[in-house]
């Protein structure tokens, strides 16, 4: 809308509507919705060593448009797995337990590999700052990202979901050996898709995101593969069902001070943890301090899991910048690997021909 007159009249109408609601003493619908948003199974968090009492009251920052400000550079870097590890039977670690888990993982990352082993054929992550422990941890005390089901595990997979997984594995086998053609190589190595689609799980490294806000939009830039989600927040409908994509179609709206983003229209290759193209993900972003955003998500795919499931993780502030991740453009690795495989094929064929010639001589 570019007409000041139109904007003003819409503004006045909205104000009148708001006044009407207040005067009618409508029930606190918004409050109830926010309370219901947290999974019913969530228990109150045990106290951490963080001391709050003397701290000054924090006010939620707002953008010039008056909506909560989620802007900045963020990370969800964490060792917390999606599913609760076997042998862990509680929802939260104590702080010393969490620190012990982190220390173990950090030491493991820093350990030197043994020369002459497969694991040694790689540049050292530690040298390039790529260990998880070298980016700020967005850690919390949870033993799993999954909060619901209460056991911290994915719900049972439906028969349809199991069949789909089997079909996919079968199709994959028919394609041949991994280095016969680029299409057999994992999708991340091909720089087709890595992370950034909802639900946003942390990648193995470079777990950086940038959020900027403009009137009526929240834009989330994921560092890996520079995935950009430009999300309108006016509650408009999704793109047509015939338009599918790797990251799906994200449409958002505000519920009080929480940004709710609903994503549908996935293609059938995205397949998050075996999901179908009908997966719907609902994300909720709530700024909880200067330093953190609480990120919750619900995955709903009745053709894959018997019930919807929910997870939660924090995002914490980091410094920028996010540098261009031009992955396909720099993918010497695939060229080298395929060329090496063809060279190996040639060598094996020549060796087989030699053996054949020798056995014929005898």
């Amino acid at each position: 809308m570019h007409s000041r007159v139109l904007t003003t009249s819409v503004g006045i109408t909205a104000l009148a509507a708001a006044l009407a609601v207040v005067l009618a003493q409508a029930p606190a619908g918004a409050q109830a919705a926010n309370a219901a948003a947290k999974p019913a199974a969530a228990k109150p968090a045990p106290a951490t060593t963080q001391s709050a009492p003397a701290a000054k009251k924090w006010t939620l920052p707002r953008t010039p448009e008056g909506v909560p400000d989620l802007q900045g550079y963020w990370t969800n870097n964490s060792y917390t797995p999606l599913e609760r590890p076997d042998g862990v039977n509680k929802e939260f670690y104590t702080l010393p337990e969490l620190r012990a888990v982190e220390k173990k993982n950090a030491e493991r990352e820093e350990e030197q590999t043994t020369p002459g082993t497969i694991a040694d054929v790689h540049y050292d992550f530690t040298q390039f700052g790529l260990d998880r422990s070298q980016t700020r941890m967005a850690d919390n005390l949870r033993t799993s990202v999954i909060t619901n089901p209460e056991n911290g595990k994915l719900p049972p997979v439906t028969p349809e979901g199991k069949k789909r997984a089997a079909d996919r594995a079968e199709a994959r086998k028919k394609q041949g050996a991994q280095y016969d053609q680029v299409q057999n190589i994992p999708i991340g190595s091909r720089c087709v898709y890595m992370n950034g689609a909802p639900p946003m799980m942390p990648p193995a490294y470079n777990p950086a995101y940038q959020i900027i806000q403009s009137p009526g939009y929240v834009t989330i830039l994921t560092e890996m593969l520079h995935e950009t989600r430009v999300v309108p927040t006016d509650g408009r409908p999704h793109a047509p069902a015939t338009v599918r994509s790797w990251l799906g179609d994200s449409k958002g709206h505000w519920e009080g001070d929480t940004l709710v983003i609903e994503t549908t229209n996935f293609n059938d290759k995205s397949a998050f943890r075996g999901a179908s193209e009908n997966m719907k993900v609902t994300e909720r972003f709530t700024r909880t301090s200067d330093d953190a955003i609480r990120y919750e998500f619900t995955v709903d795919d009745p053709s894959t899991w018997e019930r919807a499931w929910t997870g939660e993780m924090p995002f914490v502030k980091i410094n920028g910048p996010i540098f261009e991740h031009a992955c396909n453009e720099g993918n010497y690795g695939i060229l080298n690997t395929l060329a090496g495989a063809r060279k190996e094929d040639k060598r094996a064929a020549e060796e087989a021909a030699r053996r054949q010639a020798r056995s014929e001589e005898q």
């Binding site: 802007q71 041949g176 900027i212 403009s214 408009r236 453009e329």
Partner: protein
């Protein structure tokens, strides 16, 4: 009396005309268009925009021409275009012109667009697909459909840490105009499908301003002492996509380019 009033009126007309000429930009912006403001007082350039021209085929004026594959008939032939380069041919240095010609001759193999590579700047601005400008106080981002390319314009100036395909952009406002200064490019992108190219000394200064509620004026000054004898300019309108709920869509083209990039390394060759 009459002579004096005629003189006065003529004088006023001359004054008004001079002021009008001074105010009109090279790109023909109607004098006096003032874009609506964002809440932080800046011209609002938010929206889904698209260039409507043939610059991606060839930024210079060019005739219609056959496409690279006769099997596709007229479908992927080259449409004619008036060009977006101002004032004559691109001022290549003689040896650079030879390279451009060699690029052109081999464009069906060499154009980085074939590999779904990032288009660089300014090419991203005139590829024939929509892009979205999202404008906050500290950053202006442009998200493009093709290859999911994205540009970040830093409104608080920062130095580039390294070279990139899309360059590093610092921006500031001059009245109605967003001025974007981009450097630290690699030398790998092309300006179009016709082989126009640059080195890593490329320096692009863009000026973008709203010309009406539904179009922007865009111009860019291009400088590269390794390749051109002097700076030169391109200019074009950018049109707002006016469909209800206009949005950019995902155009991940890497999968479509993989056989082009890696096909020669297949175990079993593709049947031609």
């Amino acid at each position: 009396m009459r002579n004096r009033s005629v003189a006065v009126t003529t004088g006023m007309v001359i004054v008004v005309a001079s002021v009008w000429l001074a105010v009109t930009t090279v790109a023909g912006q109607a004098p006096g268009y003032r874009a609506p403001r964002t809440k932080d007082g800046k011209p609002n350039l938010n929206g889904v925009w698209q260039a409507v021209n043939e610059a991606n085929w060839d930024i210079e004026g060019h005739s219609a021409a056959p496409g690279p594959l006769w099997q596709l008939g007229a479908q992927f032939s080259v449409p004619p275009g008036l060009g977006i380069v101002e004032g004559g041919p691109i001022p290549y240095k003689p040896e650079a012109l030879q390279k451009k010609k060699a690029n052109y001759a081999d464009r069906a193999k060499l154009d980085p667009e074939l590999k779904c590579y990032l288009p660089g700047v300014p090419r991203a601005m005139y590829m024939p697909y929509p892009f979205q400008i999202v404008q906050s106080t500290e950053y202006v981002m442009m998200a493009f459909e093709f290859a999911g390319a994205v540009r970040t314009v830093y409104m608080k100036k920062q130095q580039a840490p390294a070279d990139s395909w899309m360059g590093w952009s610092n921006g500031h406002w001059e009245g109605e105009t967003l001025v974007i200064d981009t450097t630290d490019f690699n030398d790998l992108s092309w300006f179009d499908r016709a082989g126009n190219f640059h080195s890593d000394k490329l320096h692009v200064v863009e000026r973008i301003s709203a010309a009406s509620p539904d179009h922007l004026n865009y111009e860019a000054t291009i400088e590269d002492p390794n390749v051109f004898t002097r700076p030169w300019k391109i200019s074009m309108p950018l049109y707002r996509r006016l469909e209800k709920n206009a949005q950019i869509l995902e155009y991940k083209c890497v999968e479509f380019a993989e056989d082009f990039i890696y096909g020669h390394l297949r175990k079993v060759p593709l049947v031609k």
